[in-house]
Structure formats: C-alpha cells, structure tokens
C-alpha cells in the first residue's frame, strides 16, 4: 500500500481544491519559510484523525483557509488521502470539518470515527502510536522521553 496523492480543499494556506502529489517512494517537499510545507504535514495528520492541538490550532474551525485572519473563505475544509495497493486499486480516506465538527468518509461513504480508525489500522496507520509522523522541531524530544513514557510508547505499538 502506498500514498498516491493528497487532495486538499480550503485547508490552512491551501485555498480552493488543490492536488499535492503524485508521491513516489522517496519524496522531498521544499519551499521558503512560511510557504506552507508544514501545512501539508498538518493536512496528512488531520486526515489521519489527529486532534486540533497537534495541528497547531486551538479549534478545528481555525483550519479553514482564511480563519487565521478572521476571514474564513468557506464553512468547511477537507483533506482526502488516496492510497493505492499493489494492483493499483484506490482507497480514499477523507476527513471534512464544518465548524468544529468532523466527518469521515472512506471511498465517499460516510463512516463513524471508530470505523475510520479501524480501516486505517488495517493498512498500518496507528494514529495514537504516532509511529509515522515527526512534527517540526520535535525530533530530539523523541530520544529524550522519560523511561516510563517510553514503556507506554512500546505498549501502544505492541
């Protein structure tokens, strides 16, 4: 299974509907300070079910393009992750926020958060174990966790 592309709609600095990708095996995102690179990471974390605090905002509605200057351009923001398996069959995981409420879709079918997370776990994404995201500025703290925290981390992934 691999990530083919991400569709973002009015998410943070990404206005309107934009496609980010296509992704290959080893991908590098470059750009000047403040251009919107970490916002791509936030878009992926959002689609994987992360809370507002890990997305550098206070409320989910602040994710909508323009909300940071008090002029949100829409009532909703949406991020869809397109996965392909070895036979190139596509599965689309999508999360949408309207106001502070989230809705989850798998291949355009509305599902509950529990179902959404279950399906993500089936392809190996365990959001609460944070086993595949390293946010900007946090890499050193991963090595410095206190021993008890590290035991919890191991408990989560086993």
């Amino acid at each position: 299974v691999y990530l083919k592309q991400i569709d973002v709609e009015n998410f943070k600095s990404w206005r309107g509907t934009q496609v980010i990708g296509p992704f290959m095996r080893f991908n590098c995102i470059i750009g000047t300070n403040g251009s919107g690179k970490s916002n791509v990471m936030d878009a992926l974390s959002f689609a994987m079910g992360e809370r507002a605090a890990s997305l550098r905002v206070r409320h989910l509605r602040d994710l909508i393009h323009g909300a940071h200057i008090g002029q949100p351009v829409s009532a909703t923001a949406r991020v869809a992750m397109r996965y392909h398996d070895d036979e190139d069959r596509e599965t689309v995981f999508c999360r949408r926020v309207s106001g502070n409420a989230s809705e989850y879709f798998i291949n355009d079918i509305h599902v509950t958060l529990t179902k959404y997370m279950e399906e993500l776990e089936k392809i190996g994404i365990v959001t609460k174990a944070k086993n595949c995201l390293v946010f900007q500025g946090t890499v050193e703290s991963i090595a410095l966790k206190d021993p008890k925290e590290r035991t919890k981390m191991f408990e989560c992934i086993s």
Partner: protein, 166 residues
C-alpha cells in the same frame, strides 16, 4: 498482552542497534535499549542510550543536539520495523545536523525508502532533495492572504538531476 510487549521490546532492541550503526555509517556505534526490570519490562521504565561514534557510553542528556537527533531517528525506524506504517513523514529532522551527518541520514532514508516504506521528507537542504524520486516545490502566491501552490517534479529517471534543481 504481556507476551506481545516482550516480543516487541526484544525485536526493537536488536534492530535499533543495526539501524544506528547504519545511520552513523560506523560499526562501533551502539544503540542500547534496557528495561529497569528485565523480567517484566512492561512494569518498569525503558532506558535508551547511545554510544555515538568516537564516544564512550554516556547518558542521552550529555549528547549534543545533532547526536540526539540521530539517536531519535534510529528509535523511530526501529519501532517502525516492528509495527510498519505504510509511510513516514519527517518535518525538517535535519535542522541540527552538520553536513556530513546530513549526507549519512539522506543516504539511509533513501535506502529505507527503496526497501521498506514510502518516505516524505520536508527539508530546506539540498542534500535531501537531490536524492529524492519526486520533488514537490511549495511556493507562495498572494491574494487576500498568502496562498500556497505546488509544483511537482519527477526526478526518478533523470540523469540531468544537477541541472534540474539549480
């Protein structure tokens, strides 16, 4: 549950040392995971120590910023090998690294992406983006407020890489 925990702990302790040696490109480097209570590791804390290249065994707090960043990457990739996610996203993990370590980490990540999983790296440094298959350039456009746009370059088979980027 207890059995799963021990299996995971054993697996990661073995793998982390191999990964750390590969990251440092140095076979005398060591990464050591140890449980305060080895019989029942799930009841006690788990310590993580590294012997950085050319150094002796010391506590993680004494290592420098760059040395800690490499130790952290080793732990991440070791955990991943036990519980593999389909992809990894790393946001400027190279910020504290000197040029020689950037080269080592970029080569390691390239090797991992060929063998084990898909990797997305956000970086400001040329060493990283010159080794990637796909380059995604984010730039700012201005309207009512700043708007991000993206340009994507497929570098996979290009031989004129140097020309393309600069």
């Amino acid at each position: 549950r207890i059995h799963l925990f021990s299996k995971c702990f054993e697996h990661v302790s073995v793998v982390i040392d191999q990964i750390y040696k590969r990251l440092c490109r140095n076979s005398s480097a060591q990464a050591i995971l140890s449980a305060d209570n080895p019989d029942e590791p799930y009841l006690s804390g788990i310590n993580y120590n590294c012997v950085a290249p050319g150094k002796r065994f010391m506590s993680m707090e004494n290592l420098s910023g760059g040395e800690k960043a490499i130790a952290a990457l080793a732990l991440l990739f070791a955990i991943h090998s036990f519980c593999p996610a389909p992809f990894f996203i790393l946001d400027e993990v190279d910020a504290a690294l000197d040029n020689s370590n950037i080269g080592k980490v970029a080569r390691f990540i390239r090797e991992e992406s060929m063998e084990n999983m898909q990797i997305i790296v956000i970086s400001l440094k040329e060493e990283f983006f010159s080794k990637s298959d796909a380059l995604l350039g984010v730039y700012s456009d201005f309207d009512v407020c700043m708007v991000s746009r993206i340009l994507s370059l497929d570098l996979y088979l290009r031989t004129d890489r140097q020309l393309l980027i600069f």
